[in-house]
Amino acid sequence: MTHRIIVNGQPHQVDAAPDTPLLYVLRNDLGLNGPKFGCGLGQCGACAAIVGGKLTRTCSVTLRDVGEDQITTLEGLGTVEKPHPLQRSFTDEQAAQCGYCSNGMIVAAKVLLDRNPNPTEDDIKNALADQLCRCGVHNRVVRAVRRAATEPAK
């Protein structure tokens, strides 16, 4: 069955069952690498993307759920050559070790900053409370989000 989805501003035709979790469509049909498989249970946040303006666990929503909502992934924020301010601040703060959770961190931070452009440290920690990181770069992530919020755009 063919579905039309809009990802990072581009429409795509996807031939997959309607109950297919969005994550596998993004990764395997569209070749995106940002959203990662972490648990498939909506518990860790590694698969996060922005769907219809909301932070979404793409392992736990289906193609049918998504409908025509605009989807933004890590790739839609910026590139190596033209990084989003959050991607730049994560680099500046070296706010990653393995980087596997970074997709979820950056995407969740984007949703936070859209809602609250000047969050406190506690705001950031609370907004990221359900995004798991195992390497222990939490404090660097908080600094990176603050930096993206406060640093003038380059």
Partner: protein, 741 residues
């Protein structure tokens, strides 16, 4: 259907011709060998096996160590840049590839800068020397009169040639053996080593560039999943395969003994087929009896064990009988690696050759075990390291590599990507073993420890592939013609196994240390960050505070009174100073602070830490607002990278201390998702200050050494705050509440 984006983003992997370029001489995999040529060069002598000048004016640097998220490729590139005098942007790192890189065994034990760094330093210094000598001949000048900058050699009279120009005139120039005689630079001359260079791999990882084994997409690739037994010991009794084979997209069902897997065209189809396969399988009721979680300490001590005296001094004299004798027992739970991404591998069997892409810590040892299980000649098996989610030790990476290879056999010609599901990882990856520790000491009236007796009980923390006497890969034990597990190796001090850091670093006139290596293994174990150090330092450093309290001496002063090593004393003092440690300050029932020290492996980095806690007696929740650590890692190749590692170890250790324990009943593992195995979350992470001691001494490795002292410092802080002591990890709210009820 797919769109143009897929092919653009398709992972371009150069499969190339696979040539086994390095001899597979057996040797000890554990630790540095003393003196002479750097350890990693002993069996990898050829210069071009480490450094190659490429026609596009870049330099390829080969390492046998793997990027595990610790930033090692960046640090090694800095070392190569420094010694070669070429631009950092000219360096291309190739990591842990059995087809074209040096065999450096495993990436473990915080030894990559020490081992691979030393090798690359030697190789680069020699390459630079050889190039200079050749340029000198060409220019008719003396090598010592030539200048090198960014790969360009210049003579005093203005002649110039690039490294690549010099090398192209003589293809054999870099083909010799590394002799170890080329003098590397003095640390005082370093320009890039010692600088906090940003990680070379992060920009891609932070923007969604293909970076991980999970991101590999090969033409015609299929997706696979495994179905593991419900518990250790259960056997596959029957299977209704037909129901699964007819599901959409399914291309293969693999059944071999108790090993079950399925492959499908699409990933979600493989996952659905896995669920169906689990329902279609009937397993025997057999189970390996598991210990009673409520009495781990007692259970471990009851398991059959081999007792090894790790060290003994002063035993010819009787212990002074005037001294006060004190003892205590400590316990650590089984721990999960709990990496955010489950283990994954890609395997491709083609024309009698199999290539496996894996986030293994040991590409070469894994290759050997894969060849055994697949009954293939070793030169028909290649293992190429690809990054995965964070690696904190021996997780499921090697196991899933075999799983993928077994499926690849069933779909010959097609590449297979197999990722474990979350419950596969939590239930089947090797755990960090539970540990029981008992310490007894005698204290003289002057507050000096005059006798020390220490026992540790745990299974082996070293059950990796590549060990002699069997095969340490999960599926290998489940096949219809099963392989046996390798027995645990005997790893001597100072590296040790469950007895790593069991030898106290303090000056003790009389001591005896025994390791009780458990021989029966109810729960699957492996190497978890720092092996036994975490449990041993938890016991030793908790007990040092208990002794200090009995002696009525401040914990800092008490430790200093038993420490001679100036670097140990310096980190202790630095941490106390930075934290504002006040001798004699009392906890206020709610808040307290504690301190601990560790020299990792007794020969590695030094760390001293001060931890603050706030205890809520009603809820049992312990908060950790602040951690201050002073660390001496010798020369820091990349200070910010090292700090990142040290901070990470601290967060991981706070998480272990407060929350983590593998859950099981008497028959099976029950913690199979993040609800069952919670880890520290953002609001719970302490503020962390790390001070790096500024030193030019040889680098000591920073990957692990911040972890061991944290649990003890936290327990000491809890005791300081409340006057009560927790000797069992984790310090869960339930344990805290029961202490006060």
């Amino acid at each position: 259907m797919t769109n143009g984006g897929l092919s653009r983003r398709r992972f371009t992997q150069s499969l190339g011709v696979v040539v086994a370029s390095f001899a597979l001489a057996p040797r000890t995999a554990f630790g540095q060998a003393p003196g002479g040529l750097p350890f990693s060069l002993r069996n990898n002598r050829r210069l071009e096996g480490w450094i190659r000048l490429e026609p596009d004016a870049t330099v390829t640097v080969f390492t046998g160590k793997a990027e595990l998220g610790q930033g090692i490729l960046t640090a090694l590139a800095q070392i190569a840049t420094e010694e070669l005098d070429v631009g950092f942007d000219k360096i291309r790192m190739v990591s842990a590839d059995t087809s074209r890189g040096p065999d450096e065994q495993y990436t473990f034990g915080s030894q990559s800068v020490e081992q691979s760094g030393s090798a690359i330093r030697s190789a680069s210094a020699q390459a630079r020397g050889v190039l200079l000598a050749a340029a000198a001949r060409r220019f008719g000048a003396r090598p010592e009169d030539l200048q090198v900058k960014d790969g360009i050699i210049a003579s005093p009279d203005g002649k110039r040639a690039t490294f690549w120009e010099v090398a192209s005139s003589d293809p054999d120039l870099l083909r010799g053996d590394i002799t170890g005689t080329a003098a590397p630079k003095k640390p005082s001359d370093y320009s890039i080593v010692g600088k906090s260079i940003n990680r070379i791999d992060l920009p891609g990882k932070l923007t969604g560039a293909p970076s991980y084994v999970q991101d590999m997409r090969l033409p015609g690739m299929v997706f696979a999943r495994v179905v593991r037994p419900p518990r250790y010991g259960a056997k596959l009794v029957s299977l209704d395969e037909a129901a699964v084979r007819s599901l959409p997209g399914v291309v293969a069902v693999v059944r071999d003994g108790n090993f079950l897997a399925v492959a499908a065209k699409r990933e979600e189809q493989a996952i659905a087929a896995r669920d169906a396969l689990a329902l279609a399988a009937r397993w025997s009721d057999e189970a390996v009896p598991l210990p009673d979680m409520a009495d781990l300490h007692g259970e471990l001590k009851r398991i059959r064990a081999e007792t090894i005296v790790v060290g003994a001094t002063g035993q010819s004299e009787l212990a002074p009988d005037q001294a006060r004798r004190i003892s205590a027992e400590y316990t650590r739970s089984y721990l999960s690696h709990a990496s955010i991404g489950p283990s994954c591998a890609v395997a491709w069997l083609k024309d009698g050759h199999i290539t496996v892409w894996s986030h293994t810590q040991g590409a070469f040892p894994l290759r050997g075990d894969l060849a055994k299980v697949l009954a293939m000649q070793i030169d028909h098996v290649g293992v190429v390291h690809m990054p995965g989610a964070g690696c904190y030790g021996h997780n499921g990476a090697d196991d899933v590599a075999l799983d993928a290879a077994l499926v690849a056999r069933a779909v010959a010609g097609a590449p297979v990507k197999l990722q474990w599901m979350r419950d596969d990882e939590f239930a089947w990856a090797p755990f960090g073993p539970a540990m029981a520790m008992r310490v007894e000491a005698a204290l003289a009236s002057d507050g000096k420890i005059v006798d020390w007796s220490y026992d540790v009980w745990s299974n082996s923390h070293a059950m990796r592939p590549g060990q002699a006497g069997g095969v340490n890969l999960l599926a290998a034990w489940d096949l219809s013609a099963p392989f046996v597990k390798s027995p645990p190796p005997h790893i001597p001090q100072p590296f040790g196994d469950g007895d790593r850091n069991a030898m106290p670093f303090y000056e003790l006139p009389r001591k005896q240390i025994r390791n009780h290596l458990l021989l029966d293994t109810p729960i699957r174990n492996g190497s978890f960050r720092t092996l036994g150090s975490h449990g041993n330092i938890f016991a030793i450093e908790s007990f040092m505070d208990e002794l200090a309290e009995v002696a009525g001496i401040d914990p800092v002063a008490f430790r200093l009174a038993h420490l001679r090593d100036p670097r140990a004393r310096a980190v202790l003092q630095a941490a106390a100073d930075k934290a504002g440690w006040t001798p004699g300050q009392k906890g206020d029932r709610q808040r307290g602070r504690g301190l601990a020290f560790c020299r990792y492996k007794s020969i590695g980095m030094y760390a001293a830490v001060v931890v603050d806690v706030e205890v809520d007696r009603k809820t049992g929740v312990i908060k950790v607002p602040r951690v201050v650590m002073a660390a001496d890692i010798g020369l820091a190749v990349n200070p910010d990278g090292a700090k990142n590692q040290l901070e990470g170890g601290i967060v991981l250790a706070v998480s272990l201390t407060l929350k983590e324990q593998v859950g099981f009943d008497r028959r099976q593992i029950t913690s199979r998702d993040w609800t069952g195995y919670p880890i520290l979350a953002f609001p719970e992470v302490p503020n962390i200050e790390v001070i790096l001691m500024e030193r030019d001494d040889p680098s000591l490795g920073a990957g692990e050494g911040s972890l061991p002292p944290i649990s003890a410092a936290l327990a000491n802080a809890f005791a300081h705050a409340t006057g009560r002591r927790l000797r069992e990890l984790p310090m869960t709210p339930e344990r805290v509440k029961s202490l006060f009820s």
